[in-house]
Symmetry: D2
Subunit: 429 residues, 4 copies
Amino acid sequence: MRLNVPFLPRKAAHRDPLGEAQRLSLGLLESCGETQGTLTATRLAAALASLDDETAQAYDLWLVDKLGPDAAMLGASIERWLERPDAAHAAQLTRSAEPRRQELLRRVNTAPCGTRHLVDWRARLLRQLAQCPALAPLEADLRHLLASWFNRGFLTLRPITWDSPARLLERLIAHEAVHNIAGWSDLRGRLEGDRRCYGFFHPALPDTPLIFVEVALTDHVSEAIAPLLDHPSSRTAPDRPSTAIFYSISNCEPGLRGLQFGNFLIKQIVADLKAEFPTLTTFATLSPIPGLVRWLDAGGRSLSREGDDPRRLCALYLTGSAPDGTPGRPRDPVAAFHLGNGAELWRINPHADVSPKGIAQSEGMMVNYVYREQDLVANHERFAQHGHVARSREVAALIDGPAASPWRWTLPWAHAHRLSPPQEKQPCQ
Amino acid sequence: MRLNVPFLPRKAAHRDPLGEAQRLSLGLLESCGETQGTLTATRLAAALASLDDETAQAYDLWLVDKLGPDAAMLGASIERWLERPDAAHAAQLTRSAEPRRQELLRRVNTAPCGTRHLVDWRARLLRQLAQCPALAPLEADLRHLLASWFNRGFLTLRPITWDSPARLLERLIAHEAVHNIAGWSDLRGRLEGDRRCYGFFHPALPDTPLIFVEVALTDHVSEAIAPLLDHPSSRTAPDRPSTAIFYSISNCEPGLRGLQFGNFLIKQIVADLKAEFPTLTTFATLSPIPGLVRWLDAGGRSLSREGDDPRRLCALYLTGSAPDGTPGRPRDPVAAFHLGNGAELWRINPHADVSPKGIAQSEGMMVNYVYREQDLVANHERFAQHGHVARSREVAALIDGPAASPWRWTLPWAHAHRLSPPQEKQPCQ
Amino acid sequence: MRLNVPFLPRKAAHRDPLGEAQRLSLGLLESCGETQGTLTATRLAAALASLDDETAQAYDLWLVDKLGPDAAMLGASIERWLERPDAAHAAQLTRSAEPRRQELLRRVNTAPCGTRHLVDWRARLLRQLAQCPALAPLEADLRHLLASWFNRGFLTLRPITWDSPARLLERLIAHEAVHNIAGWSDLRGRLEGDRRCYGFFHPALPDTPLIFVEVALTDHVSEAIAPLLDHPSSRTAPDRPSTAIFYSISNCEPGLRGLQFGNFLIKQIVADLKAEFPTLTTFATLSPIPGLVRWLDAGGRSLSREGDDPRRLCALYLTGSAPDGTPGRPRDPVAAFHLGNGAELWRINPHADVSPKGIAQSEGMMVNYVYREQDLVANHERFAQHGHVARSREVAALIDGPAASPWRWTLPWAHAHRLSPPQEKQPCQ
Amino acid sequence: MRLNVPFLPRKAAHRDPLGEAQRLSLGLLESCGETQGTLTATRLAAALASLDDETAQAYDLWLVDKLGPDAAMLGASIERWLERPDAAHAAQLTRSAEPRRQELLRRVNTAPCGTRHLVDWRARLLRQLAQCPALAPLEADLRHLLASWFNRGFLTLRPITWDSPARLLERLIAHEAVHNIAGWSDLRGRLEGDRRCYGFFHPALPDTPLIFVEVALTDHVSEAIAPLLDHPSSRTAPDRPSTAIFYSISNCEPGLRGLQFGNFLIKQIVADLKAEFPTLTTFATLSPIPGLVRWLDAGGRSLSREGDDPRRLCALYLTGSAPDGTPGRPRDPVAAFHLGNGAELWRINPHADVSPKGIAQSEGMMVNYVYREQDLVANHERFAQHGHVARSREVAALIDGPAASPWRWTLPWAHAHRLSPPQEKQPCQ
């Protein structure tokens, strides 16, 4: 299915684009019968798409200012509610408190590609929010709407293979956020043989996964990323893989940031993989530690202090523990994601990602989180309620052990290569 | 796709089903991570499905009472808003005014068949509302949610043919509300040869059209229903049909009542039919007049008064006009639907449906509404704003003409056959 | 996909339909470039479809007479072959010996629905062959071609469910040959809950299974058909079925008679069912014995002879054994089919099918054949080479035991109900 | 659908692979019941796939020698036929003259991917035939079988777009034979905006088009290839294209060489394009002239002779005419293809393809053939029967005009760049 129509007649630019967009918006809200609703929605979507960034922002601020709740109705509802706060008056208040722009956004969705338009709209808002905090109410409305529409009940998990449409695969190349895909041949290597890929899809955006996960089938828990990224075409799958390594999770839609799909995703993939490969017993990640170096720098810490096992410092960071082992909450977004899912912090791997990006963000360290079905709920509960991080014996020993270990760590060259990680793409958080 | 799973392990009934449902509901709302969210949602959906009607109503009332907006948060938001009614405080108030059960309903949707569950839930509420008006806030929440989810932008129009799945066709037989389908052979006759059928579908309910329309391809505007319902298997389509008659529109989901899809539907079907049969020039309905007899009886009027053209009285009813021709708003639900779409009241046909149901509801009269693309918007506007009913010259003459015409009308036998129309099915309104 | 196009312009009948068909046939054979080939093929197919039976037979005989191998070319090839019978001359002879009508048939296949046309053509030939043996060479050509085209490699096994197209399900009702399907509700009962159905499909006939098999999931080897045919809508599947009963196998295409697909089918279904229900351990049929009564009557035998176990006579019939147990070849077509597949004759069930048809053909007896994967090849070999029928201990005891057992058999009422079985439908052989 | 199964257990090499293949072949032919047929076919296909080229050829020759027609049966049939050459004896002879390896090949097709195996087998035979003419009878058998199976009636035309599976698109890059595809970005440019691509597909080879055609939508008949091969991503389609240019036709399957699909293909694409773009009035090719330079060299001719219009020589070559204009048959394979389809030789374009390949094969010249629906049959007839080449007035003037025109032609640089065209890929002939 194509979302963009190549043969649309080109429209002449409007002389007062902001006024036109406002006029269409009011018209759309007033169209009580829907006879012309879709037509107006289509025109409005086109008008909005043609606005330059500055005018678009002016339009957005107009929405915030002028299309909030109807003040008179809201005042009356509040009065009645304060007088007698019962369920009926609450319901009335709920209705009055909804900003009119919510209905406008729902009607924009009736235009062809309306959903795509709204998702891209929120992506733009998220970019502009820092500079223009006044846009926050509109962003909140869009988030509310999209969170409702992209409800897990409407998403489907699908394998992504070399038989998937090129248009879809192209999105993987564009949005892989963890380990860059070098081209179509590299991509093919990540879909076949001993590799698998899965994505979550929504019916209104059929051409793009909302989020996708890359998996390697192996016979051990991987301790470095390079062997996973190297996939000669002759490679075949192990007959009876024991282990599935989730080595990359990426979002495709910046406009859906914060609507967490990833946790559902991993649990469904585990089920699918088990059905296809009954020999699988271990499900683990090989994950980056994007915030490690930032945290080290902020605290004036260094992995290369003599006499210290650098994995200890990393474990303290990942578990949010103080140097004496007192538990806290992890500050690393990837850690927060997997631990929040109920996974266990299993092993810290030095020298695991010696690419410039890996060195820059974590001195080359990576970490395995292990998903054990029987422990997920309990782990999650203890993490959500008490911040307790499930950890393997090995990691526990690192944290609880003596602060100074005999192991020696030097990475003089690493500091020389520290680079800022690219910001445009979205690793899943 | 199957929505019902035949091999689910049967559960023993819970000893305190209401308490269990309440406990699961609170658990679902609190599951901040989603690790166990879907699991709890699935359990809750199952628990709700097993409640008897009385307990279900008790549960619903508990939702209304206990899971409204958080009173403390709402109070604080109101205070801040009254102090300074700006956009930020409005946004806060919007958030606080949302009842917590809205989020609960969204989470129920993550269960398998969650959407089906919610739609059926609202269907039950609509049935109970008259007896138990206190349920209204919950019904409003469900309506709000479903209206958002069944947004036109997420619906697809698809032809329904003899090649459609039997599971889907079965729904047509069950839900045809205007002219009963006698069985599979009758159904087949309505899908092939010179007949077409179209439905609106939502991805979360793939097995059922939300609404469907039956069309006959003819060479004139039909004036009676019997020839359209009679379809010998040998019938073939006219080579170059001039006219498409929409002779039946039915909803399949009582739980979506009031979410109007029908107007979009007809306009899209017109476009599809034109593409398939370029010779088509006229698009008209042959519609029932469900409220005519009720209106006649209420006013002590009679079609069979001597010396009067009975079509005049019918025209007055359909246009909402007073006996002297003063315009009003039509009281007939089918008329309101088509006129609201911008169609024109074209011809009144006596003796058009002499089935018991046709006699009972309209003394056998039916009406043609004509859809003319170029007039739809203007007709709709004048109808929506001024209640003006677009009418053909023939109908205008009936209304404006002398009250007593020489035409004579007797239907003594009709009164003997007056039956109450069946209530379970939903003609589109 | 529709195979019949409802809006084809109706053609006036040709004045010399036979001559026209012959002219088009020669034209089609001569169209060396294919520019007009498909057009001519389409015209020829239409011309043939409009022939009455008599003219069609005249045309067929013309094909046999006039479009055999080119006599001159064949003579020359024979001469060369006789002179030097090497591979090259053999190849030439092969080419020359092909009748020209083979190429004609291949070209007819390029018309829309050409394959359907050829399959129906052979069906007609098979009906006329007894009256008109001269048609045999044409039937042989069609059989050769269809056997090549309906090669197992081009067929796909697909489950048939209540989600299948109504057009396809309609074929099951029409072609069920063993236990009549009473209507759509009965059909639905055979597709859901504890029932399954599978069919073999060819891409050129997408609307119809070539053959289909009905299966019941049970917890024992069924000994009577009535419980299998009774399926109240409330019935659900056993959680952990142990046994799959193949209780009906039917062909849909009389034009493909003799092209045996059934053996492949059963083995693939066994694999599919095992994947879906890992608890399945036993795969058996509950099969009719269509030839039993005919055989009894022919030999003046009777099941109801006092003092004899009637199952013994049945076992002798099914194994083709003489009364003293000397092995032979079974004369029963259904037995030949399953034994040829490598199944084992497992149990004989009196009073298993007391319908008029069951009484008429086998005095109500039915038989279970068991498919055991590990034995299929050996059983098949011994059957194919020596006619040895694999049998259970129980059946062996019946055959080898004393001719007169104490068990007593009376079916006086049975003889009163003996009816001729219907002939139009095709049980799989 | 995947045709290659990545997890197949690896088999140890057989010690006597030729003997094993022969043993399996005889076993497969003898398997009268099919119980073990598919199993043996699968083993044989695997055994054949593992043969080295030399052993494979030995096996092929064994098939030619030993699995021809049964000599005794053939002798008897011949005798009977010579005695009385009637239809029945002819049918018997047809049967006896079929080499036994034909049945073997049909049974190999029942293996998974059997069709793929047979197509690749013929591709190998075609490569070896020149060195080993004794293989001809086997190649003839395969060709006969494949021609029957890839009958036009079993093929479907499908558009190939950027939404097609990557596995399929990969085949276009690999098999484009006329104008090399530089990579995925170049490929995308040939599928979107003002470009279209169509392929013919067979159900047994779903991952690959048998042949594909690339089309550009333009507003004039293109006179050079470079603008068609240059497609910036910003390019959009003309709103109302008047002309469709077929600028590349390639086969994907060397094993299907000589089974002509291309003519059907173009006519169907014309119909599809007309339906999508009603403004299209002209359908033309921009075609290479692969044999021109070879023909010039063979005849010691030169385009650059002073005082001559070089297009005249080219026109003589393409029409097969003698220098005095006497008509003949064209020697160019691409010309033969389009003229055989009924197209008209419309214009000769100098400097149309100045790539090394274009210079090498035709001194940079290309030609437009125009497809006019109303003329196709007549053009084809005159071409097939009399070799008459349909030509435009412009081309006719070139041929009939004075041999020496004032136009001057120099391509000194061209000769310097003459390269051998690549041989591995197959332009459609």
